[in-house]
Point group: C2
Chain length 301, copies 2
């Protein structure tokens, strides 16, 4: 999985900061998560091909997570997109987009599918051969979901030295990756133990923004490879976090610890703080494997 | 009058180009005209105070002229705006903005007044002691208006040397500016002829975008100090201009010539052209006093 951070600051876009949007690359997909104003420009800046985006997941209908969507949907038309586009988000997102297209008399030249969400339980919203996407019900001022993206199958990590040593034809590599047994022309039988380093753990990514400190999500995201959790505030502004149903860096770390995730990425920072390092400093004593989101940064896992 | 170009390219925002938005400073007002995606960031980049904007004029409901409006309206709330905001635009603009505020459960903390337009004739839509704003009905794929902003009263340009020479107290300067007669303590009577360089011509600004070549506007904008006219295409793409109801640089120049304006500013360039100088080269033989809009550029007149 490869995560591209397009924007990770709270509230309004600035000259060098952008509201929430990210791309998760996995199994040939480019899943877009949230689309604040200016996200289409961030796609260009990060040299991500517009045509590779077929699924957009919107956490909630606050502007800093969705106001860039109508612009992106329109730009797809100008780029002569033909592929279907699937948009997942709270009830109302369809009306929001269609009204604006109607008023501009600018309908899309491609098919637009809306998957409107209203359940308060985690649900499966996307599935193919390789990956599933489930909602993570969050606690915020409006109906909000995080998203858990999980790779489905387990694969074996190839041992190239061994493959060369046994002179295994390349055509068998995929079978080896699936853990299959291979019989060479000389009759030698090779198992996954001979040819691979063993199974690579299945990767998963949990996106949780925006949300108050909300321990019920721990069960849903348990053991995720990477958790992106909002940390709008520092501990000294705990009261503000409570009031606005956001989290502090410490609370995000507490969730990461309880869920035993592989890595925590903090984001959705309020612009009131001078340095984002402060968020890491507060989270690390609770959960050491904490990183800071940053626009233009990518995380591979 | 001082015109700030925040964005002047057609269609989609890019990494260094922005869709239409501009600010006209006149008589203490900061009138915003159009508000494509990213306009609020352009305001910051151009160091224009958000709080000084009280009137926003939207030409039409195509995305590159309006998709930044909801973000700006929301940011005003986050900045704790209290002053009324007036939005002028085609019927539907109110529903477009209010639906998005409702879905985000994020109503403004200030009063929002919508002035929805539907007339096909030029009409007066704003007036105070110093300035009027009238619509300029344009010809485009959806209902579209340009805007004619005119300074109302004529003032006299003060001759500071004369004022000093006659030792005129500063308290009389405003009266002199209005062309009044001033009697000094020593009984001397001074007229506008003694104290000023005479009347400064009344300034006016006509914004016309988006529109096909449409000579009926000439009557409305006759003699404007400055005309901003869209020039999406060059002559070689005349057919495309016709089809999409846009103008070429030559057509914009022809309008400027017929309307005998003081200066023409071309804008709304298609991103298909390598150099914006090409637009000027095509317009100048028809109308010499042609300038090219450019993001971050200001024009004083």
């Amino acid at each position: 999985m490869k995560l591209h951070i397009l924007g990770c600051t709270a509230a309004t876009p600035g000259t060098v900061t952008n509201p929430t949007s990210q791309i998760l690359e996995t199994k040939g997909h480019m899943f877009m998560i949230d689309c604040g104003e200016g996200s289409q420009v961030q796609l260009r800046r990060n040299r991500i091909k517009f045509s590779r985006i077929n699924h957009i997941f919107i956490s909630h209908l606050h502007g800093d997570h969705v106001f860039g969507l109508i612009g992106l949907v329109s730009t797809f038309t100008l780029l002569n997109r033909l592929d279907d586009l699937h948009i997942y988000g709270p009830v109302g997102i369809k009306e929001m987009i269609l009204l604006q297209l109607k008023l501009g008399n600018s309908y899309t030249g491609y098919k637009l599918y809306f998957h409107e969400l209203s359940s308060k339980e985690s649900e499966l919203i996307f599935e193919d051969k390789h990956v599933t996407v489930k909602t993570i019900p969050l606690k915020h001022r409006v109906y909000t979901n995080g998203f858990l993206i999980e790779e489905k199958e387990e694969v074996y990590q190839l041992n190239l030295d061994a493959l060369n040593h046994y002179e295994v034809p390349v055509v068998y590599y995929n079978k080896a990756k699936q853990g299959g047994t291979i019989t060479l022309e000389n009759g030698q039988v090779l198992t996954s133990e001979d040819l691979t380093f063993g199974k690579i753990p299945q990767k998963s990514y949990a996106f949780c923004s925006d949300t108050a400190f909300h321990p019920p999500i721990v069960e849903v995201i348990q053991g995720a490879s990477v958790l992106y959790h909002e940390a709008t505030f520092l501990k000294k502004d705990q009261e503000l976090a409570k009031k606005t149903l956001h989290s502090t860096a410490q609370e995000a770390a507490e969730i990461a610890k309880q869920a035993q995730v592989g890595q925590l990425i903090l984001g959705h920072f309020s612009s009131r703080y001078k340095s984002f390092q402060l968020f890491k400093d507060e989270a690390c004593p609770i959960f050491e494997r904490t990183e800071i989101a940053q626009e233009g940064k990518t995380f591979e896992f």
